[in-house]
């Protein structure tokens, strides 16, 4: 068997590909792109929520939110680690993020403008991410699958904390309910855009499905998210901002209106409300930390030399 045949055989039999195994160049490149994009999303995703951690309205809300953001840092870290097994260093991935060569989920380029947005982000954004991540636990690349298993286990509380915030507001004073509805209005469409372009327009999905990197299509994942989320909104008396949303008895799913793809592509290309701000923040933190990393490296080197000499 050739290397390629062995590889295809493993994929066909659902045997995971491991770092030292031979893999097609495009498979490696696709994974590097997808996994680093996923890692960057976790890291940049800390910012819109970090925007409210200092202003959380109760002590309980404060610790929950901080723990959640911290988990996201951890998840970014697991994903960078997994992505590093493909022969590219974290430094390189970070450089690609900061120079705009690598993307991250466009949802994080929307601003968080009220406390209710912490609810919307947890409920909708994490909700959408979880639908995707649950499916990725079976992805064909071993390190990616393993990090997804760990992430899904840890994320189980994230969506619930968001829904709890929204539910509290929806049942609160008229002002609070208005806040919740406003957050839903602003985050609904960007959340369903998170699943990416329609399958017919997605030029990248094809190989990824064949290689079992992706196991379900963008549209299938999006539909499953919408079907799950609509009743959750109804339960709270909130209205999904889509006049075309309607239960389709025949399909056993909700029909929904047309997504504004012009907005989607603009945000992807860097024209969203917060794209520049998010990257600037990341670059600044990285630059401020430079002297610290240099000092720690220098100290570690000195210690190693001392140890060697003794």
């Amino acid at each position: 068997m050739t290397d390629l045949e062995k590889f295809n055989d493993k994929i066909a039999n659902n045997i995971k590909i491991e770092p030292k195994d031979w893999m097609p160049d495009d498979y490696r490149k696709h994974l590097q792109r997808q996994m680093s994009q996923h890692a960057h999303s976790e890291i940049i995703g800390m910012q819109p929520e970090g925007n409210w951690v200092l202003r959380a309205p109760t002590m309980r809300a404060k610790v929950i939110l901080l723990a959640k953001i911290q988990d996201e840092a951890g998840h970014g870290l697991y994903l960078y680690s997994a992505a590093e097994t493909l022969g590219k260093s974290r430094d390189t991935y970070i450089e690609e993020l900061q120079t705009g060569k690598a993307k991250y989920s466009s949802i994080f380029n929307y601003p968080t403008l009220s406390w209710a947005d912490m609810g919307a982000v947890g409920w909708l954004v994490d909700g959408a991410a979880i639908v995707n991540q649950v499916s990725l636990q079976r992805t064909s690349y071993g390190p990616y699958a393993r990090s997804m298993v760990r992430i899904c286990k840890e994320e189980s509380f994230h969506q619930r904390q968001g829904y709890e915030i929204i539910a509290t507001l929806a049942k609160g004073t008229p002002k609070q309910k208005e806040m919740a509805q406003d957050a839903l209005n602003r985050f609904w469409w960007p959340s369903i855009m998170m699943f990416g372009p329609h399958d017919a327009d997605s030029y990248r999905s094809s190989n990824a499905m064949e290689w079992k990197i992706k196991l379900e299509s963008n549209d299938a994942l999006r539909q499953s998210f919408i079907d799950k989320t609509v009743p959750q909104a109804e339960l709270l008396g909130l209205t999904i901002p889509d006049p075309d949303l309607k239960w389709n008895e025949e399909r056993g799913s909700y029909d929904f209106g047309e997504i504004n793809w012009e907005e989607f592509w603009n945000v992807v290309k860097g024209n969203g409300p917060c794209n520049k701000q998010r990257i600037k923040h990341h670059v600044k933190a990285h630059e401020n930390g430079k002297w610290v990393r240099e000092a720690a490296n220098a100290y570690a080197k000195k210690q190693k030399e001392i140890k060697k000499a003794s």
Partner: protein
Amino acid sequence: MDNQGEIWEVFIQSKPGLAHKHVGNLHAMGEEMALQNARDLYTRRKEGTCIWVVRHADIFSSNPEDSGSFFDPSDDKIYRQATHYVMPEGAKHI
């Protein structure tokens, strides 16, 4: 020298009496930092009683090419499995 430090592999014993299990890796400058980072990253949910950190560069691994010569020879040594042996009916505690 600006980088994220070396890669360290992390092994955690979740309960006394159990083996240390590989949980993932991280970056750190020096062993003390690696140990603390492992504690902060991998035991956020009460997951451990002991942590080992090992420089990734110090791990010497077999390669997929070796797998035939390393692991297949044990395929025909089924006599190493307890289930290989036929016990007389009624034999207990064996």
